[in-house]
């Protein structure tokens, strides 16, 4: 049971967690839930990628993970921007009444 095998097993486990997160995407009543599952997906994906890369000594895995981490917030920003545009006001105003 060498270290690479352990890391590969951990990668499979994290991928399984990511798959479970997919179920929340299915059942998510609101779009915000789905975005959260995507965020967990992103982080889980980065973790699985790092485990895979270090275990199999794959090249440039850190750069791929760096790109993914950098753009992890991008989809959610697009969602927040589109959600705020179609629903008008900002909740900060509503909380002041």
């Amino acid at each position: 049971m060498t270290i690479p095998d352990f890391l590969l097993a951990a990668a499979v486990f994290v991928l399984a967690m990511v798959a479970l997160g997919l179920v929340r995407i299915l059942r998510g009543p609101e779009e915000a839930d789905r975005m959260m599952a995507t965020q967990l997906f992103g982080t889980g994906g980065i973790a699985a990628l790092l485990l895979l890369g270090v275990a199999t000594q794959a090249k440039a895995v850190l750069d791929v993970a760096l790109t993914l981490a950098l753009l992890a917030a991008f989809a959610s920003v697009a969602f927040a921007r589109s959600a705020s545009s179609s629903k008008g006001d900002d909740p900060k105003e509503t909380s002041r009444q």
Binding site: D5, L8, A9, A11, V12, L15, A16, V18, A19, L22, I25, L26, G28, E31, R34, M35, A37, T38, F41, G42, G45, A48, L49, L52, G53, T56, A58, K59, A60, V61, D63, V64, L66, T67, L68, L70, L71, A72, A73, F74, A75, V77, A78, F79, A80, R81, S82, A83, S84, S85, S86, D90, K92
Partner: protein, 316 residues
């Protein structure tokens, strides 16, 4: 190596599950969210297929730009959800489509299983033709800019034509205006905070990935995509505005990259005997020059493709 195979099988099943779900789910927004997750899983698959350059491209474009583009579109078209529900084809069409899809997939699967055993490869030819002469360490970059330079040149022009196509969809009153709606965003909000903190680091990472492209996996497409994403982040946070498409500096920069590429290509005809050939010993500097010239063009083009068609005239 059964454990590595276990990883591959679980990854492949996950990819197929997400793909099936993208098609089956009723709500378009859920499908687009699934597509973002699908892009991320594909980056993992490319790492497992030992293609780090492609993994980088997929992560940057699939995970970042395509997701943002589709989420924006899905949000804007949310109103059309109910109307389209009546147009679902009947059971007969669906079974026909299923039969066609299964036969196409089966044909491809048979093709995959029947691939010739001494796997045909162009690696030795590419190595001999481009790696030895150009001194570029990364074989994929060497192929992109030396062995198959024509593909990269045509691709840079195709991306530019796609941008022209998107711009030509502007309504007459907004011609020459700014793409994308301009929405007031509170300057001290979370989005503004992210747009002030992330881009400087993102620019450094983008330029780093662009620069190492010569010898390690990376390159101009991946670097340009990251820089384009950072620019979009600043625009969406309201800190900057999309430039009106009539600006001359914008149009000059958009055309500069391909023009430099074409110029160096035709100069090759004189000095090195063939179009897009590099004279002896000057290959690497010329390749780096082309990549530097293409960077601004790609950053502008990719970002403006996501920003979309012009919609409003900027206040003079």
């Amino acid at each position: 190596m059964t454990l590595a195979l276990a990883v591959d099988i679980s990854l492949a099943l996950l990819v197929l599950a997400v793909a099936g779900w993208i098609i089956a789910v009723r709500d378009t927004f859920g499908a687009v969210i699934g597509f973002v997750a699908y892009g991320l899983l594909l980056a993992l698959v490319w790492v497992r297929l030992a293609a780090p350059d492609v993994a980088l491209t997929e992560a940057a474009i699939g995970g970042g730009l395509t997701g943002a583009l589709l989420i924006g579109a899905a949000a804007r078209l949310r109103g059309t959800e109910a109307a389209a529900r009546a147009e679902y084809p009947g059971a007969f069409t669906r079974t026909l489509a299923a039969v066609l899809a299964v036969t196409v997939a089966a044909a491809l699967a048979i093709g995959v299983l029947a691939l010739p055993d001494p796997a045909p490869t162009l690696a030795p030819a590419a190595a001999a033709a481009s790696l030895a002469t150009t001194g570029v360490g990364n074989p994929v970059t060497a192929v992109l800019l030396a062995f198959r330079a024509m593909d990269t040149l045509l691709e840079a022009i195709v991306v530019l034509l796609a941008l022209l196509g998107v711009w030509s969809l502007a309504p007459d009153r907004a011609w020459g205006g700014c793409p994308g709606p301009r929405r007031p965003v509170d300057p001290d909000g979370v989005l503004a905070y992210l747009a002030q903190l992330l881009p400087p680091i993102g620019i450094i990472v983008g330029l780093y990935i662009f620069w190492i492209g010569a010898d390690l996996p990376g390159g101009k497409f991946q670097g340009a995509t990251i820089l384009a994403a950072m620019w979009l982040l600043v625009i969406w946070a309201g800190l900057a505005d999309t430039p009106p498409i009539g600006r001359t500096w914008l149009r000059v920069l958009l055309v500069a990259g391909p023009l430099v590429f074409i110029a160096i290509g035709f100069a090759g005809a004189i000095t090195a005997g063939a179009v897009l050939a590099y004279p002896e010993g000057y290959a690497k500097p010329l390749i780096v020059a082309i990549e530097i010239a293409l960077m601004p063009t790609l950053v502008l083009t990719l970002a403006l493709l996501v920003a979309g068609a012009p919609q409003r005239i900027p206040p003079q």
